[in-house]
């Protein structure tokens, strides 16, 4: 079955592969590189915030004097870094890692499929992602630098910005195309190519999360594409979709007909970007559910309510976008509507989180590295979710809007939230992909340091936000209330640099473990789901014999069984 494939040349096998596992690994490596790059941008910003106006050590001397003045960062460079940090992390880091990498690698295995429904489309999706990424990175080398209008690219600022913004838009169009192709592929694969006996309520929660995510991507991204097309037209063809009449920039009337609406961009953008938040978190929740079920050695508590919550989340996420826009001057009718939907959407998240916590009751908890990350996810995501509460209500938002509180809030959701889930997934599935287990000691060092410093980075932000410090400020100490919390800023910066150092054990572990001679067992975690029914690493076509599914995904510690796990694919436990 796999013999033909092994005859393929290097290019076909590793670069232009149509095998979902190869594509998954390509996505994973690329996304991890982008994540680290995006993180590095932020570390430079942290220097400016902690020590405003002083030269950045080492790197400062290497940068051209359009970006730095005697090694110290200039404000437009800071804005470029801010915009690109957000864009890279969200669109080129987490989404490709959560959906492109884990989705591609794990979903077909977990549903007993030989590959994705459209392998070639899958390859094209990755290629579009790479092209988009290259366009984005190339923009740093433009004369005016990269996009500098924030990852939200609000018009009219973005329309009047330098060429970097055009690259940003073109890059986004590629990234969107990539996501659309991927999402379509996932839906068809999950709906059509499940193994015999794998009914919907026998699907692992991770597959459910990927299915809902794919629908979100499929339906939420096109409006952003429309918005990007409009903004490109504004920038290149001189239209004024987002420019009202009579704009005066730099004391001069700008040359545009006018008649557009700056708020139109925000509506189109947030119509995507709120579901996008769920795109970032749902695959993470899926991984956490897998890891928790496996390491508690018992079925997930409340699997069905969790699935229903997931569906409700996906559905409602299209109706909350304007809670990002309370401060644009919308009327109270509209803000009331969006406050209510925002409160409603918090309920399913509460349900999922509660189910995961209650799953610990009556368990026999194995503290593997993956499990540590999964356990840390729960309170961290909890903080992220809870701090969303004051932001979802218009009146407290009047104080907290666009402050560091917002930054703290969504970073708690995506950094110690999703990224911890990604780490859990890497520690959990690494043996599947490589046939080796990651070193446990290095893993635990990685976990504890990451856990401490993650909180060291994001907890101070909550207090800075409370004090009223606005985000995206090149130098917050200009304001009295910013100067008062400068100590917290310094703490955040040092935590961020330590957090970077804490990733070194992981990187060493990742490459060193791959070369270990000692092979992992076929099913090292004694897991029940289908991916462990394949040889390790799985060959082209995945399964040596067509799998048949006999039971639900998390049949652990079944009374009367001779082992504490009953795999989905084994017909009869003695």
């Amino acid at each position: 079955m796999s013999d033909e494939h092994s005859d393929l040349g290097f290019l076909r096998k590793y670069v232009f592969s149509t095998d979902h596992k190869t594509i998954g690994i390509q996505y994973g490596i690329t996304a991890l590189v982008f994540l680290f790059f995006g993180f590095s941008l932020m570390m430079m910003m942290r220097w400016q915030l902690a020590y405003p106006g002083s030269a950045i050590p080492i790197i400062g001397g290497l940068l051209p004097d359009t970006l730095v003045d005697r090694g110290a960062m200039l404000p437009d460079f800071y804005n470029q870094l801010g915009a690109m940090h957000g864009t890279i992390m969200v669109f080129m880091g987490i989404v490709p890692l959560a959906v492109g990498a884990f989705g591609n690698y794990v979903v077909p295995l977990q549903i007993g499929a030989p590959d994705m429904a459209f392998p070639r489309l899958n390859m094209m999706s990755y290629q579009a992602f790479v092209i988009g990424g290259i366009v984005m990175l190339a923009s740093f080398f433009l004369p005016g630098g990269a996009a500098s209008s924030g990852w939200t690219s609000y018009a009219p600022l973005a329309v009047t910005a330098t060429t970097g913004q055009t690259f940003w838009l073109i890059g986004m169009i590629f990234l969107i195309a990539s996501s659309l192709l991927g999402a379509l592929n996932f839906i068809v694969t999950i709906l059509h190519i499940r193994a015999e006996g794998l009914t919907f309520f026998r699907l692992p929660f991770f597959v459910w999360s990927q299915l809902v995510t794919a629908f979100l991507l499929l339906l939420a991204f096109p409006p952003l594409q429309a918005a990007a097309i409009f903004q490109l037209m504004d920038r290149l063809a001189g239209t004024s979709f987002f420019l009202p009449s009579g704009l005066v920039v730099g004391g001069e009337q700008i040359v545009a007909a006018g008649g557009g609406s700056p708020l139109l961009w925000q509506h189109l953008f947030w119509f995507l970007a709120h579901p996008e938040v769920y795109v970032l978190i749902l695959p993470g929740m899926g991984i956490i559910a897998e890891v928790i079920a496996n390491n508690t050695r018992k079925p997930l508590w409340g699997y069905r309510p969790m699935v229903y919550s997931l569906l409700v989340l996906g559905f409602l996420s299209f109706g909350v976008w304007a809670h990002h826009m309370y401060m644009t001057g919308m009327g109270t009718t509209m803000s009331t509507f969006f406050q209510i939907t925002t409160m409603i959407i918090s309920i399913p998240s509460v349900i999922i989180l509660t189910c995961l916590v209650i799953s610990l009751w009556g368990a026999s908890i194995r503290f593997s590295v993956a499990m540590l990350f999964a356990l840390a996810f729960l309170p961290m995501f909890g903080i992220g979710g809870l701090t969303g509460l004051p932001l979802g209500l218009a009146a407290p938002d009047a104080h907290l809007h666009d402050t560091y509180y917002v930054i703290g809030h969504f970073h708690y959701v995506v950094a110690p939230g999703t990224i911890f889930a990604m780490f859990a997934g890497i520690y959990y599935w690494y043996p599947k992909a490589t046939g080796r287990t990651l070193n446990v000691t290095l893993g635990k060092v990685h976990f504890w340091l990451s856990f401490i410093f993650m909180n060291g980075v994001f907890m101070p932000m909550m207090f800075e936000g409370m004090a009223g410090v606005s985000r995206r400020l090149f130098d917050p100490t200009i304001y009295d209330h910013g100067a008062a919390v400068h100590g917290l800023t310094v703490m955040t910066s040092w935590s961020a640099w330590c957090l970077a150092a804490a990733q070194i054990p992981f990187i060493i572990n990742f490459f060193w473990s791959m070369r270990k001679t000692e092979r992992a067992e076929e099913n090292p975690w004694q897991a029940t789901t289908l991916e462990w029914a394949t040889p390790t690493p799985p060959p082209h076509g995945n399964f040596t014999e067509t799998p048949v599914v006999y039971r639900g995904p998390y049949e652990y510690s079944v009374p009367g069984a001779d082992r504490d796990f009953s795999p989905q694919y084994v017909k009869q436990e003695a």
Partner: protein, 252 residues
């Protein structure tokens, strides 16, 4: 005027609307803390009680956790209460209840890259005619200098208003979206070019603070701040008189 003290929690509040907002923020945070501690305690208990150890096995049968349902219902009810009894009335008051009596101070706020401009109607109480066609580097308020109503208008780059008197501010932006933020007044409001958005506020004590921009507006965004001076009515009147005297209508 005493120096305001800033710390790690909410900045001092000098606005009459701010108390409601502060109460809400504090109530919500107590609620969050209670939930988090409850959740956390349960979780830590589970981690210790149900850790893997020889002789301990997991229970297949799910527990009947009726309390989770109650917890979820409780959260929903709490959110509904916060929404219906705090969030919506407070917000409606801030957004809709514009002061009609009490002789409000009316000002025009013009945002441009990267400074604020405050436009007062002057002694005649009437704003001069303004228009986008008049904006120039030496006419940041866009005043039509042929209109006599505008002769005594005051255009300054620091915000002054008296304590105990409502202020109606009409916000507009010239170039890109800015956001008018006064942390001590608990006010944030975006300024959208092409629109004029009215807001109102009232201070309950005097002091010298800062106005900032809370929406990324370009490379000088961080520098976009202005003085915020809340004075006694007498000091305010004195300031107005000084500004009027300094107008130098006969210059040039």
């Amino acid at each position: 005027m005493n120096e305001p003290e800033y710390g790690w929690w909410l900045p001092p509040n000098v606005s009459v609307q701010g108390d409601d907002i502060d109460t809400m923020i504090n109530v919500i945070h107590w609620f969050m803390l209670a939930l988090f501690v409850g959740w956390g305690a349960f979780m830590v208990f589970c981690l210790v009680r149900f850790r893997e150890r020889p002789g301990h096995v997991a229970v297949y049968k799910p527990i009947k956790a009726g309390f989770s349902k109650w917890l979820e219902v409780g959260v929903a009810v709490a959110e509904a209460v916060i929404l219906a009894f705090f969030a919506m009335p407070v917000w409606a008051k801030i957004k809709n209840d514009f002061p009609t009596q009490d002789n409000p101070v009316v000002i025009r706020v013009v945002a441009e890259q990267f400074k604020w401009l405050f436009h007062y109607p002057g002694q005649d109480g009437k704003f001069g005619r303004t228009g986008v066609e008049f904006y120039a580097d030496d006419n940041p308020a866009g005043l039509d200098f042929d209109d006599e109503d505008g002769f005594d208008d005051i255009t300054v780059r620091g915000l002054h208003f008296p304590v105990g008197r409502p202020v109606i501010a009409r916000l507009t932006a010239k170039d890109v979206i800015h956001s008018f933020k006064m942390p001590v007044m608990r006010i944030t409001q975006d300024l959208i070019p092409g629109m004029e958005i009215p807001i109102w506020f009232e201070a309950k004590s005097t002091g010298k603070f800062q106005v900032g921009c809370a929406q990324l507006c370009g490379l000088g965004h961080y520098e976009m701040k202005a003085d915020l001076i809340i004075e006694s009515p007498e000091d305010y009147q004195r300031w107005l008189d000084e500004e009027h005297a300094a107008l130098g209508l006969d210059d040039y």
